[in-house]
Symmetry: C2
Subunit: 709 residues, 2 copies
């Protein structure tokens, strides 16, 4: 509900308009019915379902679709219906429009007449229905507002006006309002006032307008470039956003609208923003170049940036007058938009800029099918499986078994192992004893038998599985496939099975997103009893990896639960809207079989993450974890970004949150420490940050999150 985004698609203009005129859009609970008013969404799930309906065209095709909608910044105009229809017909999906007459100052109204006074708002909820307001208008808060001014009258007027305009915006159920950029260095009073308003705001988002500037040189002129003509100190505008956000305690309804100017900061520093709650990018007409045919276009770096915005569903808003004189024959330039006959649709003044943005959008590569299938999982926190304690469900097995890439890798590994183990001349005479431990419904059994066929080796397979329900399926599978004389099914936990003979090859897939987090080490230590001294374990080893990330989305989702437990839990999550601040580093490695005299699976690792100075300062919300496994010799399988196995979908990364985000000053190192602890009944991780600031140790004694043995 809080993340309400725009869903007025570029190409459904007419429908969306028809829909808005259609009273039925009001015939749904959340949008129009009074009583659902103060129910807290995360307390009452149903209100979430309802909230989806608020939007005029609710069929969001996944993250990307939001960025299919493009807005335009408009000047104050009393005739909202005209402004709206002009811009909608002109090709835009929503407008960012001032709500209040710019000349208005509260102090100029004498208290006597107040009783019968009306505030000079742009139109009322009679000229446009609430549904129209909320689906097509972002409120632009008066830019004269300066809550940190030395001038008392201006400061008090600013506070009154800000409250009046935001009250009016929520009265209209607008989905968002654009807050003017803080003026000058300090923004504490501005933040204090916004923070008060945030405490009992409806579902409206507040977009704080921040110019996208960062220069190491104090008097860089790119700084003075925004429409509001303000000046930013310090010269890294991210610092401005960060202090404002910190003052408002990372409130989930406070987000960013970036002013994209003609000159851009370094690529490194731009990356930071993708982990921040940036909802919109305001692109100014004067940051466009001119192409050979005289039309507006953008520099390569701007193009790259916009693709980034599209990918992260950040909506583009165009701002400013037409500055390109279009070649003759094309439609009227900035000057004329009245002189069209009624026949021909009125051409929007800056349509050529919108067309270029649309062209960039359509130029992007479509998502591969697997990615589309996983859209619903993006940044969705899920507790890791506990396959040892809990039995997986049939549907879960079914999904895993669909991951052909994974089983092809296993088949390749088994084939190589078989060939190494049995020279061709003995192929027909010797039978290899292969044990699949954790056989589930049989996919690894199948892969092993295919490897045997492929290499012409003879196989005897034991399929060991502790889940009695999976064993039922395994039996029907063996009958179905006629494997009865090759495969023996053992309904037992590998840790306590008394094997009748020893194995040449031990095949298992007990890996979690963080490698050892589903207790593969403990299980295989138990199973290697029945592996021959020279036997082979597939996998032969695996390593976990970790890296710091900025991800305000996940931080706020964890915070929603309002308890310690959720801040000390590692989540499986399809990471999307985040900034990776430093390359991932190896954490824990386990090798099998492990014949060291006294095996311990406890681990401890200190890591130092460096980030180039030009990235600037950034905030760390937590750490993203991955794994890579060596199945056999050169056959590996994993999700560590730089070496990930393509098109494999069985694992999403893991996310270790931090109870409070850590601010890292430009160029200073980040020290992270993590432990793998083992008890009699459970295994858990503890983690902390020790520099630049020291965090508490998270999940002490596995009080919040652990994996059962």
């Amino acid at each position: 509900m809080k993340q309400a985004d725009f869903v007025i698609p570029l190409n459904w203009k007419n429908d969306s308009f028809r829909q808005i005129k259609n009273p039925k859009t009001l015939a749904n609970p959340a949008s129009s019915f009074p009583f659902s008013f103060p129910v807290k969404p995360y307390q009452n799930p149903e209100s979430f379902n309802l909230s989806k309906i608020i939007m005029p065209l609710g069929d969001n095709l996944g993250d990307k679709s939001d960025s299919r909608y493009c807005g335009v910044e408009t000047d104050f105009n009393d005739d909202m219906p005209h402004v709206l229809s002009y811009n909608i017909n002109g090709g835009f999906d929503f407008i960012v429009a001032p709500l209040m007459e710019p000349g208005y100052r509260p102090s100029l109204i004498n208290t006597a007449s107040r009783e019968s006074s009306v505030l000079p708002f742009a139109g009322s909820d009679l000229v446009l229905s609430p549904a129209q307001w909320s689906s097509h208008v972002v409120g632009k808060i008066s830019s004269w507002i300066d809550l940190d001014s030395e001038d008392d009258v201006l400061r008090e007027d600013s506070e009154t006006a800000l409250k009046q305009e935001l009250a009016w915006a929520s009265h209209l159920s607008l989905q968002a309002c654009l807050l003017p950029t803080p003026k000058g260095n300090s923004c504490a009073n501005y933040a204090r006032c916004v923070n008060q308003i945030l405490q009992n705001l409806n579902n409206m988002q507040l977009w704080l307008r921040i110019p996208l500037v960062k220069s190491d040189d104090e008097d860089d002129d790119s700084v003075n470039g925004t429409s509001d003509g303000m000046v930013v100190e310090p010269t890294d505008s991210w610092e401005l956003w960060n202090s404002f956000r910190e003052l408002c305690e990372h409130h989930s309804q406070l987000s960013v609208a970036l002013d994209v100017l003609s000159s851009l900061p370094s690529v490194n520093s731009l990356g930071r923003w993708f982990g921040e709650p940036v909802k919109a990018a305001i692109v100014h007409t004067d940051s466009f170049l001119t192409n050979a045919r005289g039309y507006p276009c953008l520099s390569k770096r701007h193009q790259k940036l916009l693709s980034g915005f599209f990918y992260f569903s950040i909506q583009i808003v165009l701002s400013g007058k037409a500055v390109h004189k279009l070649p003759v024959g094309s439609l009227p330039s900035g000057s004329g938009q009245a002189d069209n006959n009624a026949q021909q649709a009125q051409k929007h003044e800056i349509r050529s800029y919108l067309d270029y943005v649309g062209y960039l959008y359509q130029k992007m590569e479509p998502l591969p099918e697997q990615e589309r299938f996983e859209l619903g999982y993006r940044d969705f926190l899920q507790s890791p499986l506990q396959p040892l304690m809990d039995n997986l469900e049939a549907q879960t097995y079914e999904t895993f078994e669909k991951d052909s890439v994974k089983y092809i890798q296993y088949q390749r590994a088994v084939s190589k192992a078989l060939v190494d183990r049995i020279p061709d001349e003995n192929a027909s005479t010797t039978t290899v004893i292969l044990m699949v431990v954790g056989a589930g419904r049989g996919p690894l059994v199948r892969a092993s038998l295919q490897a045997a066929e492929e290499t012409g080796r003879k196989l005897k397979v034991y399929a060991v599985e502790k889940n009695p329900n999976a064993v039922v399926t395994l039996h029907s599978l063996v009958k179905l496939e006629g494997w009865e004389d090759v495969v023996t099914i053992i309904s037992c936990d590998m840790r306590c099975w008394e094997a009748p003979e020893k194995a040449d090859i031990l095949v298992s897939e007990l890996l979690g997103s963080f490698g050892d987090n589903e207790l593969s080490p403990e299980c295989l230590d138990g199973a290697q009893r029945f592996l021959k001294p020279d036997g082979i374990s597939i996998p032969s080893s695996y390593t976990s990896f970790i890296q710091p990330v900025t991800t305000s989305k996940l931080y706020n989702d964890v915070k929603l639960h309002k308890d310690l437990l959720h801040f000390e839990t590692a989540y499986v999550v399809k990471l999307h809207r985040l900034a990776k601040l430093s390359p991932s580093q190896a954490v824990f490695t386990f090798t099998h079989p492990n014949y060291s005299p006294n095996i311990s699976n406890q681990r401890y690792k200190k890591l130092r993450f460096e980030t180039p100075v030009e990235t600037g300062s950034f905030i760390v919300h937590g750490f993203a974890g991955y794994f890579d496994a060596i199945l056999y010799k050169d056959v590996h399988l994993g999700i560590e970004p730089s070496t990930a196995t393509p098109n494999m979908f069985s694992w999403f990364p893991i996310f270790f949150p931090l109870r409070s985000p850590v601010y890292v000053k430009a160029g200073s190192p980040l020290d992270f420490q993590i432990w793998r602890c083992c008890g009699n009944t459970k295994v858990w991780y503890e983690w902390c940050v020790t520099s630049p600031t020291v965090s508490p140790i998270h999940n002490c004694n596995g009080r919040s999150y652990w994996v059962g043995l």
Copy 2:
């Protein structure tokens, strides 16, 4: 997620079947993807949205649609695909089928062979996909199971088998399992075992099978009638359900399947069940009568009962063999179902019974449009408005204004008051001063002006409104309608406005679902300063009403929040799935104007609710509240069920929950007490039950729920 119901519509058989064969049904997160597994739904709202997708045809048209799906109870059969297709093609939507071979007893399997043993389940997840299992099969737990038997072996076998069968059912992600009726008087060990399983069950519902019997006569033979041939003591089977449910702490996944037999208990006692979590009604073929043409039909009382089931979306399951010899010419009776040629669809053995149930379903009257519009609100808890503290949103006003019935009543009241006040001869000379306090966006102003026109009286209207945002709209409305010289808009709180003159008529609509709960009394006491001594207040009085209800749905929704606050809050809710146990009684009355020397709006009321003995014992989850208001003389308006104004939708009832449900023995009275308390800044209610048991006083000092002044 916990209330997951069947959504396989009667008339979409083929689609639903095609859909199941279509892998895409698995291409959605919640149904097939591993990682979403242990996320707690009420902790993570998103998982709720996903959960909806679990169902093969998710477009639930509201409560009623569930009962459009009819099931059939089947015998054990190893060939599930055949059983399923025979019954689906035979016209049923789902089957209630045994999962385990009936002869199986755990104690008969020797431990030695256990390692390689398979449990004798009916088919695996290979013969039917998990999606097919979960969308078309309710698991029937072995009826030989008796957890309270004196025979140790039987008792231990029962526990083992129950756990194995339910584990298998969750492995298949079934939406529900049918638990056999407790045997004999005691069910403590059965409940203990089920309660343990409920603690970490996935979203599966457990339907406890309870015969619908109640007799005051010990040896009533209707008791021995169910398919499982068990005997029930005490003879009111509701008591059996109640003790089982109490032992399991009202767990929200524990529900009821009622066995409907040939003879039915009294109508009064039947009513109790509609407040209980009854998910299914199993109707036995031998409880059908025979109509003139030799076809099966049901007695009038059975028909009435089934309409009740339909209305409360309780699904019908047919059980038993065909006992009607259908007239010649019609299709084969019980005996022959093999002898059909491939051409003609195989006629289901008990199709004629299903056809009759379908006939009853179609015979029901369709819901009126307003009811359909409100389907989404049924039993959905919402916090009451705080119009005094918070400003309503435009959309809220808009919805209220749609309630024409309400404004017609106001117009009638004002007309009568005008005529009483001004005799026809003075109509043209005298101008009546009318003040609308809480004018909002103007609907009462409009109603008053229409009353003046209708009666030919001259009016001067003051529209007093404290919400500055509504005042903006009010101004545009007055301009739009050209009311400038009749209507004066006052942007001020009525409690502090200094009126320039006094009013003849004071019109207000400040009523909440419980009458005074939106502080109408406090507001009007403040406003009557500017009413002439002989002036008229519309409304002239209002009274709240209350009655005890059984509503396990609402109780469990409140319990979800796991805190005291939600158990001490009054909710606005469109009551649907509940049993009203006793007629409502008047609680608090307020009259305006109120010239008593020292006005107090504190109130205190003791109420005793009686219920006829034949109703039997019942459980009270809370109290439903209503109001009725006298606008002027005989013109009233309200929602008290026996006198409710037809087609008015501005108010839903209010619900006062109890922290722990109260068990009321047949015929014993229920004593309830409620206070209206007033502080300097807030008003609140406190309430308690004092007989048959004593509850704590709820909401002491308004610690959990209050209305701000």
